[in-house]
Amino acid sequence: MKPAKLVMGALVSALLLNSASLWAAPEVNLYSARKEALIKPLLDKFTEKTGVKVNLVTGKADALLTRLKSEGKNTPADVFLTSDAGRLHRAEEANVLQAIQSKELNASVPASYRDPEGYWYGLSLRARPILYVKNKVSPETLSTYEALATPEFKGKICIRSSSNIYNQSLVASMIAVDGEADTETWANGLVGNMARPPKGGDRDQIKAAAAGQCVIAVANTYYFGKMLAGGDAAQKTAAEKLAVFWPNQKGRGTHVNISGAGVTAHAKNKDNAIKLIEFLASNDAQSWYAQVNYEYPVREGVKPSNVLAQWGSFKADNLNLSRLGDLNSKAVMVMDRAGWK
């Protein structure tokens, strides 16, 4: 009898807990692949402004997606936020997101950075330009990502591992325009031009270039911005030796990716969920991305920070971002075959 009592007890308390949420304060539950430090300050602002409490779990995008999928219609999550368009696309395909209609979002997020049906909306933009050591490389010798595979850059390039999503989506964007075969030839050339086997993160590539191990690094702008503006003197000195080159300006533009969010298919707090995404796309929040995190706002007319402004404006690749998700696995295979560690 005892186990049965226990089960009943558990059920009753679960029922009580559940019904308690009926008259609880307004809230919204967020699964975020963005790390806490990069999202919490904005969530606090949202709560301050609207009185809606935000409950947060952060984690790796794919793991959160698995959690979302297996929790099914009982998932507590209302909003799914990731830092990569490919994952948003995967979430949409897994039927864990729902399309929402919001005039405000349609007005603030340009069409190229949101899903046409409203399954997800881009919130911030990162670019992956070429960085070069100022006194060792003349920017005239640089042109495109494709050109990095030519023999003149032999032993000069630092780039991180192909296990990283930033490189995966860069290569995916190249497969989309150059095709798989040409991209593989390119990847072979690039691997031959690497100054060292890939290791470390984006900042490490910049540091290695500054220290003289290579003269060209490929890295996301916000890492570079944080090194320039952060408190670490050694990192600042290192970063100051490099400058940004925007590749492919005469063609498709520099590779970009977004962080973005969508409302989950079984959201219990749908209104608050939409409110939260609208807030993240608002002027206030958008300038926070730029000022604090050195990302580019998706919303037009928001002033970028001084650090971003000094690199000038650039033409961004306008490839439909969901293509990055489609081509991601092809990109990994291409890099595997090219021996890109």
């Binding site: 679960a14 430090a37 779990v57 952060t58 998932t75 086997p197 408190g231 990994v332 295979m333 595997d336």
Partner: protein, 568 residues
């Protein structure tokens, strides 16, 4: 003697000394016990089996792609890593355990517990700190270049972020497993045995290699296999160093190539490695059984060393502490300067501490039940069940987490469906997103640690002791409580300590399974470190280490009392 030895292969059946009239109910009870053991192990094995079941997804092109490109790298690198870490942890662990257990030398009392300090250092954190120090762009090489006016390529310097580097990093933080278990075993070894060896003319080296080492072998093998399983599960270090191993391969295949089936096939190969390890271990142990004759009736005397030998011993025992703790801790402290800690820090510490402590106690309880259960009922089914239940230790945390989420969310949804049908009320998710699921994950991941320790403790107790106690009318439970547990107390403390520190450092499963708004120190440290904000990560990393210190010191005191409790 001979008859009790032959009993080794037989279950210590409760019926041996009892009249046939009481046979029937006893058998039923032992059947129930076996059933209980098997149920427990099956529940614990559920996540690993869930992952393994993906193997039955049809083999995809991705698998052929892997086999023709990167698979050989995964196998070779993982093997080299295993061999390297085995050599590293054995050398450091056994040397320091033997010296501190047997000899008196300057600073012994301090190094005895200080040798445990690297345990609290997460492997990925030590990898970050050494890279920061020794990398091409780091302060040391920069100073060299500036001092001698060298350029890139003018000089040779060992590359930290290499396979050798990864072997060093992992050995620096994993040798305490070998040290702890080997030391506990050296201390549990009866003094009488050593005295006998000495009186027979065996010198210190001979006593070590011919007597102590073979007797400590179960403990050493247990410690090493823990270190190796942790090596196989490591993701942070190898990923940062750019080494392709099974773990990085699994992540890449699952998340980069989006192929769950091929990733699971890789995970299954990884489990194959582990099974091989376990089989080798079992086989090597099968040939001999070592039990101590008596316990704790004479006090443990350490032999004083000459001045020179004393200094050498001190150096040998301090080196691992310097490499695995002082250098990285010093760097972290330097990075943490100027970083601020807010009030939320206390809740992080509390969350980490309470979780780690509950998980450690639960793991200990389960380890005792399973370890003793195996001793009572050493049937093939029970043994296999226990082995499978501990496989989780070698599986990367993220993979385990996924293996937990899928079945438990399924159960949750079933219960919800049932409640909706019966009472017209939805229960929502009961287990998913609760602390319960987190504790379950820790048990799946770290039961092997506790069990390894408890088992190696139990193995030093002669089965004839069980028999005598039982013939005196003790119940199996009384034997455990009054005889085994007091004797193996050092091993029990070791088990609690290891699980505690492991949970404190645990990251990937915590990240995915935790409830809303719930953070731990490891989560905080990792999120910042992986975002390449090492300085901001330093306070949390330091706190993990400091928090880990408290139990390390408390428990090492208990370990210092050899054969504690045997007189009670």
């Amino acid at each position: 003697m001979a008859s009790s030895n032959s009993d080794l292969t037989q279950p210590l059946s409760p019926t041996t000394t009892l009249s046939s009239a009481r046979l029937r109910p006893r058998i039923t009870r032992s059947h129930l016990f076996v059933l209980f053991l098997l149920t427990t192990t099956s529940i614990l094995a559920l996540p690993v089996l869930t992952i393994a079941s993906f193997i039955f997804e049809p083999a995809s092109d991705v698998w052929h792609h892997l086999a023709s490109t990167v698979l050989s790298d995964y196998v070779i690198n993982s093997l080299l890593l295993l061999i390297g870490v085995a050599v590293g942890t054995l050398t450091m662990g056994i040397t320091s355990a033997w010296l501190t257990a047997m000899y008196q030398f300057p600073g012994r009392r301090i190094v005895e517990w200080a040798l445990l300090l690297p345990l609290a250092m997460p492997a990925y954190i030590i990898a970050y700190t050494y890279t920061g120090l020794l990398d091409f762009a780091g302060p040391l090489q920069t100073a060299l270049r500036e001092g001698f006016n060298w350029q890139y390529g003018d000089y040779w310097f060992p590359e930290v972020r290499s396979l050798i580097g990864a072997i060093c990093m992992l050995s620096f933080v994993l040798y305490p497993y070998v040290y702890l278990l080997a030391r506990a075993s050296f201390l549990e070894q009866s003094v009488v045995t050593m005295d006998a060896a000495r009186s027979l003319g065996a010198g210190p080296w001979k006593r070590f290699f011919r007597v102590a080492l073979p007797m400590a072998r179960p403990a050493i093998v247990a410690g090493t296999s823990l270190a190796l399983m942790e090596t196989l599960a490591d993701y942070g270090t190898v990923q940062y160093f750019g080494i392709s191993t099974f773990t990085t391969g699994i992540f890449r295949t699952w998340f980069g190539l989006g192929d769950q089936g091929a990733a699971a096939q890789l995970a299954a190969m990884l489990l194959g490695f582990v099974l091989l390890l376990i089989l080798v271990e079992r086989y090597s142990r099968r040939q001999a059984q070592y039990h101590q004759q008596s316990t704790g009736d004479s006090s443990h005397q350490r032999q004083p060393l000459s001045k020179l030998s004393g200094v050498i011993a001190s150096i040998l025992c301090t080196t691992p502490i310097i490499l695995g703790f002082l250098i990285p801790f010093g760097l972290l402290t330097q990075w943490a300067m100027g970083e601020t800690m807010d009030a939320s820090f206390f809740s992080l510490v509390w969350n980490s501490l309470s979780l780690a402590f509950s998980a450690a106690l639960l793991a200990l309880t389960l380890a005792i039940i399973l370890g003793y259960g195996q001793r009572l009922m050493p049937t093939r089914a029970v043994k296999t069940g226990v082995r499978v239940a501990t496989l989780g230790y070698a599986v990367p945390g993220t993979v385990i987490a996924v293996g937990i989420v899928i079945p438990l969310a399924w159960i949750d949804n079933r219960i919800d469906q049932w409640a909706t049908d019966m009472f017209d009320h939805s229960t929502g998710l009961i287990f998913s997103g609760s602390l319960f699921i987190l504790l379950f994950a820790y048990l799946v991941r770290f039961l092997a640690v506790a069990l390894g320790s408890v088992e190696s403790g139990l193995q030093t107790i002669k089965p004839s002791m069980d028999d005598s106690a039982r013939s005196l009318g003790f119940s199996p439970f009384q034997v455990l409580r009054k005889i085994h547990l007091p004797i193996i107390r050092p091993s029990l403390f070791t088990a609690v300590l290891l699980v505690f520190v492991d949970v404190l450092k645990e990251l990937p499963a915590t990240l995915i399974l935790r409830p809303f708004n719930f953070n731990t120190l490891a989560v905080r440290a990792y999120e910042l470190a992986s975002d390449e904000q090492l300085a901001s990560a330093a306070p949390a990393a330091i706190t993990i280490v400091l928090t880990g210190l408290i139990p390390v010191i408390l428990l090492s005191r208990s370990i210092n009392r050899p054969n504690a409790g045997s007189s009670s």
